[in-house]
């Protein structure tokens, strides 16, 4: 049965699924990064999500906010690197926007993605078009704002489509950040590895919500 809203325990279960999907996607993510960077993005994400899964499974979550921020803190501490700072900020800032929320619905999804994407843009200075994870995050956040009054399953499907389209659009871009920026036109044709990770995470959320 698709879920119209999630409790804190369901949010925790959804995030554990996202962790497992990223862990399993390590070869794909590393390969994506090897085309543009030094090929370690998948390993870093795997390390971060392994730590996040352990933290989530180790204790009851106090709140929806805490479930997301637990993931953010675990990623930031265990990964380091640009990805640790970026994805840690995404989950921490996104989580903070859900303080006091007792149900995760389409409006909460929109608040989470907006705060997460804004935090990442502020920390790293990237905008849409720079061939970074922002190319998947911001379209996802924009779409979530549009469908904030829809049902959660409808909203997450629309958000997944927007994130995927953003990731696909990153293929045509010339990188302005990270190690890929030195490649110039040679990076055209490959999606940004961080955008690929965003899509894996959002797809896991969708699969949990619509299952």
């Amino acid at each position: 049965m698709p879920k119209s809203s999630l409790s804190k325990d369901e949010v925790k279960a959804m995030l554990i699924l996202a962790c497992e999907r990223i862990i399993a996607a390590e070869p794909m993510l590393s390969e994506a990064d090897r085309n543009l960077g030094d090929g370690d993005h998948g390993l870093g994400m795997q390390r971060g999500m392994t730590a996040a899964k352990e933290k989530l499974e180790a204790a009851e979550v106090e709140s929806i906010e805490k479930a997301f921020s637990t993931v953010g803190m675990a990623m930031m501490s265990s990964m380091g690197g640009a990805s640790g700072a970026i994805f840690g900020t995404f989950f921490r800032n996104g989580g903070k926007s859900l303080a006091g929320k007792e149900a995760f619905d389409a409006a909460a999804l929109a608040a989470f993605l907006k705060a997460g994407a804004d935090g990442v843009k502020q920390r790293g200075g990237a905008a849409v078009g720079d061939k970074t994870c922002v190319d998947a995050m911001e379209p996802a956040a924009d779409k979530a704002a549009e469908v904030a009054n829809a049902s959660l399953p409808e909203a997450i499907q629309a958000v997944t489509d927007a994130a995927t389209a953003g990731k696909e659009a990153s293929k045509a871009m010339i990188a302005k950040f990270g190690r890929a920026k030195t490649l110039g036109e040679a990076c055209i044709g490959f999606p940004d590895a961080g955008a690929c990770s965003v899509v894996v995470i959002i797809e896991a959320m969708r699969d949990f919500i619509t299952a």
């Binding site: 390590e26 590393s30 090897r34 960077g37 030094d38 090929g39 370690d40 390993l43 870093g44 795997q46 390390r47 930031m76 501490s77 265990s78 990964m79 380091g80 690197g81 640009a82 990805s83 640790g84 700072a85 970026i86 840690g88 920390r123 790293g124 950040f177 990270g178 190690r179 920026k181 030195t182 490649l183 110039g184 040679a186």
Partner: protein, 337 residues
């Protein structure tokens, strides 16, 4: 979870390399340095009431950055995973451990991950009342034009820069003064690197980049970031001239009578034999311009696993930088008597 080891690295667990090399590094300091928190290393003896010098970065480039702590060098280092910046909590732990009430200078290479994590670390330190200043190393001439220095990466020039900043940290009393001298060392340092073969990622054994057998990546970064050109394989003398041409073409004036530190660095597997042959090729070109080498360093200090390649770094000395350069220093990565 891959435990394959196709690069035949002599290791225990491909996923534990950063932690295990760190434990080895602490041992290599022979009781003069100790571990702090997760993965920070700090000298036992710190000059009292002095501003602190903290360096750091990803693992896998040993002996930098963490091998550059020592007497007359950095006070401590925040150490990340293989090729990944240290997370903010490690930066904070290191900051707290080196701070002696006069604040902490962060000195590290210009990479997005390092900048973000050290910035978050500085924000956390500020919340604890510790003053932090940051000087970012951006000596890599080929990574951006001189008009866009904010985009230049930090590479082998970090060795003379850290040496000079380390000497200053033994001498000056204010964080502002330490930061000024470190920034001056950065402003006076330029590096050009080339690569002939990639390194590998310890956890996967996969190469960090691809490069055809018959070409040299001119201006390539230490992680295989694209340089300015792919050139046909050539002789050491030809390569030395090409590298120096790029250094001379940059915006640091190098004139007859100038004194420099000249650092010939191997990126990993390029042998001392080749470094010395390159040095022999470079010397007459410097002589012809009247540029005087105050000190030569020929060593592999800024590396990327078994990556093959070399970089030339030039630090142009003035009276102040020369004074700090001439002080002795001792570290696992670089020692000067």
């Amino acid at each position: 979870m891959s435990t394959a080891n196709p690069a035949k690295k002599i290791i225990n667990n491909p996923l534990k390399c950063a932690d295990e090399l760190f434990e080895g590094l602490v041992i290599a300091y022979d009781g003069k340095a100790h571990r702090v928190g997760t993965r920070a290393i700090v000298m036992n003896e710190l000059r009292p009431d002095a501003p602190a010098l903290l360096v750091g970065g990803g693992s896998g480039h040993e002996p930098i950055y963490h091998g550059l702590i020592g007497k007359g060098m950095a006070d401590g280092a925040a150490v990340g995973e293989i090729f990944a910046a240290p997370p903010p909590d490690i930066v904070l732990e290191a900051t707290q451990a080196v701070n002696r009430g006069k604040g902490v200078l962060y000195l590290y290479g210009n990479y997005a991950g390092d900048v973000m994590n050290f910035d978050i670390g500085a924000e956390l330190a500020a919340e604890e009342g510790i003053t932090v200043k940051t000087v970012i190393i951006n000596d890599d001439v080929c990574s951006a034009p001189p008009t866009d220095k904010g985009k230049r990466r930090g590479v082998a020039g970090l060795v003379p820069i850290t040496k000079i900043a380390g000497a200053a940290a033994q001498t000056v009393d204010s964080l502002d003064e330490l930061a000024r001298i470190a920034q001056k060392a950065v402003d006076h340092t330029r590096t050009v690197g080339v690569s002939t073969k990639p390194g590998s990622i310890p956890a996967t054994g996969k190469p960090t980049f691809e490069l055809a057998d018959d070409v040299i990546g001119l201006g390539m970064g230490i992680h295989g970031e694209k340089g300015v050109a792919l050139i046909p394989m050539c002789t050491a003398d030809e390569l030395a001239a090409k590298i120096l041409d790029l250094l001379f073409a940059d915006d640091l004036p190098l004139n007859a009578g100038d004194e420099i530190i000249f650092f010939v660095n191997s990126l990993g597997s390029t042998h001392m034999m080749e470094l010395l042959i390159l040095l022999r090729g470079a010397k007459p070109i410097l002589d012809a311009r009247g540029i005087k080498i105050h000190q030569t360093i020929v060593d592999n200090i800024v590396t990327c696993q078994e990556m093959a390649g070399v970089s030339f770094s030039i630090t142009k000395l003035d009276a102040e930088l020369k004074k700090f350069w001439d002080m002795p220093c001792e570290s696992v990565g670089y020692t000067k008597l």
